[in-house]
């Protein structure tokens, strides 16, 4: 098992290398000049050259690439062209809102969606099944910002239960934290409930037709045990996969939700950086996102091995 994990981590290194190269080239080859943005409309060509010189933008591409990689390996992600702050610090500041939102969303979605999916499959074709399917169609098709504004309109402006916008770190009080993060969580949750409930229902439907479910019933087990112990455990692999990918998706960019609720998270940092061609920040954020994907995939693979004894780490 340990050997397997070490192997997987080693295998992730070249992946990250390719991502780094790709990110670097993608940004350098798209039109747009950060020096021009920093200097403003009235800058002279000499001023532009001076800015490029100071940012290292006039070096050949491969020199820029390797000096960047070299710095990365030393833990130096550079400084933001726009704000002049260290990139690492910028990202660290933005991590908490995003990770908080991702965790609350995924936990709430799983708690609601898995039971819904199980019940929908168990009562296939009944009213409750149709309700779950309707909910999941809604979750998929209504844009997140529509749900967000509806929530704000109903729960903040009409009822006044929740604040309209903003974020309070967990350190400043649990109550405050949940009070602020509730609406964005509900907003995002609908999509993830749709996703997870659907995959749970589909896999349960398949498993419920399997022979060992019939065996479990033939043993005279209560239906609850048949569903939870025998059927659901066998569905865990696809469900865990979707949960993992969903988590990675939230962390690497919930731009719309963060904008609607004015959360100072990673998604907004990314958008701001892209709009202002802040290369060091963009690179760092994309690298971070790929790292999160790699780590989550590794965790998913480890979960497979723990959940299904037939899957061997080889």
């Amino acid at each position: 098992m340990v050997l397997y994990i070490v192997q997987r981590i080693l295998a992730a290194i070249p992946v990250m290398g390719f991502v780094a190269l790709f990110v670097f080239l993608l940004l350098r080859l798209t039109p747009g000049d950060p020096a021009a943005i920093i200097a403003g409309d009235t800058a002279t060509p000499d001023q532009l050259d001076a800015i490029r010189e100071s940012l290292g933008l006039n070096e050949p591409l491969f020199v820029q690439f390797f000096s960047w990689i070299g710095q990365l390996l030393q833990g130096d992600f550079g400084t933001s062209i726009l704000s002049g702050k260290p990139v690492l610090e910028l990202i660290a500041d933005r991590m908490e809102p995003t990770i908080s939102l991702a965790l609350t969303t995924i936990i709430l979605s799983v708690l609601i969606a898995v039971p819904l999916g199980v019940i929908a499959a168990w009562k296939q074709g009944t009213l409750i099944d149709r309700f779950v399917m309707l909910l999941s169609v809604l979750g998929f098709s209504v844009p997140v910002f529509v749900i967000g504004y509806l929530m704000i309109s109903a729960f903040s402006m009409q009822l006044g239960w929740f604040p309209v916008q903003g974020f309070k770190p967990l350190g400043e009080g649990v109550g405050q934290f949940f009070h602020r993060i509730a609406l964005p969580t509900f907003t995002l949750t609908l999509l993830y409930i749709a996703l997870i409930a659907r995959i749970t229902r589909t896999s349960m439907l398949e498993i419920l037709g399997d022979d060992y479910v019939r065996t479990a019933r033939a043993k005279g087990l209560p239906e609850r045990k048949v569903l939870m112990r025998h059927a659901l455990r066998n569905c865990s692999v696809p469900i865990i996969t979707v949960i993992g990918i969903g988590f990675a998706l939230i962390i690497s960019g919930v731009v719309v939700t963060e904008s609607v609720f004015n959360l100072p998270g990673l998604g907004r940092l990314t958008v701001d950086a892209v709009l202002s061609r802040d290369y060091p920040v963009i690179q760092a954020v994309i690298l971070l996102a790929s790292l999160i994907y790699v780590v989550i995939n590794l965790l998913i693979d480890i979960a497979y091995v723990l959940l299904d004894p037939r899957i061997r780490y080889a």
Binding site: T215, L221, K225, R233, R310
Partner: protein, 542 residues
């Protein structure tokens, strides 16, 4: 009072009166009795059992009748009452031990779980009882196996786990739905004797569902024959086998392939159409990072097949018989050795060089439900090969019509889809498809194993007739010694990838020299009965 008494049971699709699949079935079982329920697919034998357990799929509903277990009607019992009775008063084991156990739970826990819900035993007492039961079904190394997962066990071991699970609460009735059909003959013989033994020990009655008359002759006290949801007759096993009362039972018995090998036919041609020399296939072995185990799936297999004759390769699962067939077809590449088709070695040819030789050797697979593309008309499936070799479309289609008639189907079948045909008809289509290439050799890989006996007999007759007419050499892969005895001139017995015995069928199956061949023959169910003549072989000499 009978233990189980079924009266006028009717089961219908969606509960609609004109869609009955079980039509007024009557059956009774006394304590300690073994009743076999025999019938072909669609006879309603499994549905009857599932109805007794209350496990019918929701689309099938009992519409009338009673199923009384110790005087209590199962059809009227509530869901919670049924749960109480299952495993305690009646238990069921199923056909596929591979899929009937939960793959992600340890087998010991799966047995213990029954006690968890049906007894007040403590956890440690439950584990102890589960292990006792595992010993009672003769599983080795019980402490270790208790913690094993199903995929770590063999098919026979899994079926033993199922039996342990079913009998741990000592129910008075065990329902066994084709429990040995998916197992090898030697394993089957062991499981049958285990069921007999436990029936004696526990005094349980057994409702044993099977399609195999050989198994019936081994295990039944009494037999009920079903056809399309109706009871044909109920008799003691000896009476049934000697004096069947209905034409249907008589036909069924006469379709059972005899274990007595036929005499090899006179060799009509010296033309060797297929031969292998020292054919080897090794799977696995290490890659860079894996320490994969090497499996020698076929070792030094040398065969030869003359025009117009049939060579059988016989063996249990894992013997390497299918590996040999696939190497010969070049569906997989042999590790070493020669494969001579019409005198040319094709073993090492590239795919391109191989193409002209492909048409000389064609294969028919085991499962006709899956070997035809469901979205392509039958005619298109048949002509695909000839078109690929440049036959004009109208010519190929005309030939397809002829071939369909040759295999006993209407020429109009070309425009229909596979799902519109029964299993036997599909296997005829698969044969027509193979013949469309005008092959010299036909490889039949368990080609009749998925078929009912009566259909099996028809397909075997068809193969024999086609062979005579077209001079085909047939390589017949089977696990069924009866089928091999009936159709093969020569037989090769394989075990663990090695050739055990090879010679004329009459000699290999009639007077085997090797212990393994003898054991295989001894394990074949019903070997003492000459079903087609309604008597045991022992009485034949008179």
């Amino acid at each position: 009072m009978s233990l189980l008494e079924i009266n006028d049971l009717r089961i219908a699709l969606n509960g609609e009166h004109d869609k009955q699949v079980v039509k007024g079935l009557n059956l009774s079982i006394e304590p300690g009795q073994t009743m076999c329920l025999v019938g072909e697919s669609g006879s309603g034998k499994s549905l009857t059992a599932l109805a007794a357990m209350g496990l019918l799929p929701p689309v099938l509903k009992p519409i009338s009748g009673t199923i009384n277990l110790k005087g209590e009607d199962m059809l009227k019992a509530s869901a919670s009452r049924m749960r109480e009775l299952r495993a305690v008063s009646m238990s069921m084991i199923f056909q596929e031990p591979m899929t009937a156990l939960n793959p992600v739970a340890r087998v010991g826990q799966q047995i213990e779980e029954v006690l968890e819900f049906h007894s007040s035993m403590s956890k440690s007492a439950r584990a102890k009882r589960a292990k006792e039961m595992m010993e009672a079904v003769h599983l080795p190394d019980v402490d270790k196996m208790y913690r094993s997962f199903p995929h770590q066990l063999s098919g026979g071991q899994r079926q033993r786990i199922m039996i342990a699970m079913a009998l741990v609460m000592r129910p008075q009735l065990l329902i066994a739905d084709e429990p040995t059909t998916a197992l090898d003959v030697t394993t089957q013989a062991q499981i049958l004797s285990l069921i007999r033994e436990l029936r004696e020990d526990q005094g349980a009655a057994v409702l044993f569902i099977t399609h195999d008359m050989g198994v019936v002759s081994e295990i039944a006290d009494d037999v009920t024959v079903l056809k399309l949801g109706e009871v044909m007759e109920t008799q003691s096993v000896d009476n049934l086998l000697r004096h069947p009362q209905t034409d249907y039972t008589r036909d069924l018995l006469q379709s059972v392939p005899s274990q007595v090998p036929r005499l090899a036919r006179a060799q009509t041609s010296d033309n060797i159409v297929l031969a292998t020399q020292d054919l080897n296939k090794t799977y696995g072995g290490g890659g860079w990072f894996s320490r994969g185990r090497e499996v020698k799936a076929a070792q030094d297999v040398s065969i030869h097949l003359n025009k117009g004759r049939t060579l059988g390769i016989v063996g249990e699962s894992g013997s390497g018989k299918t590996t040999v067939a696939r190497c010969i077809m070049r569906l997989i590449d042999p590790t070493s050795g020669k494969v001579m088709v019409d005198g040319t070695d094709i073993a090492t040819m590239s795919q391109k060089e191989l193409k002209p030789h492909r048409k000389d050797i064609q294969i028919v697979f085991q499962d006709p439900m899956r070997s035809l593309n469901p979205r392509i008309e039958v005619g298109q499936s048949i002509i695909e090969g000839p078109l690929n070799f440049g036959t004009p479309r109208h010519e190929a289609l005309a030939r397809a019509r002829e071939l369909l008639e040759l295999v006993g189907l209407p020429a109009s079948a070309v425009d229909r889809f596979p799902h519109q045909f029964s299993g036997g008809q599909r296997q005829r289509i698969a044969i027509a498809r193979a013949l469309a290439m005008d092959p010299d050799v036909l490889v039949a890989d368990e080609a009749v194993s998925a078929l009912d006996v009566s259909v099996q007999a028809q397909v075997l007759d068809l193969l024999a007739e086609l062979q005579e007419r077209l001079g085909l050499g047939i390589l017949f892969i089977t696990h069924d010694l009866g089928v091999a005895a009936q159709i093969c001139d020569d037989v090769l017995v394989m075990q663990y990838g090695q050739v055990v015995e090879y010679g004329p069928a009459a000699q290999v199956l009639g007077a085997p020299k090797q212990d393994y061949t003898k054991a295989l023959i001894a394990a074949a169910p019903g070997r003492h009965w000459d079903f087609a003549n309604f008597r045991p072989f022992a009485e034949m000499a008179d």
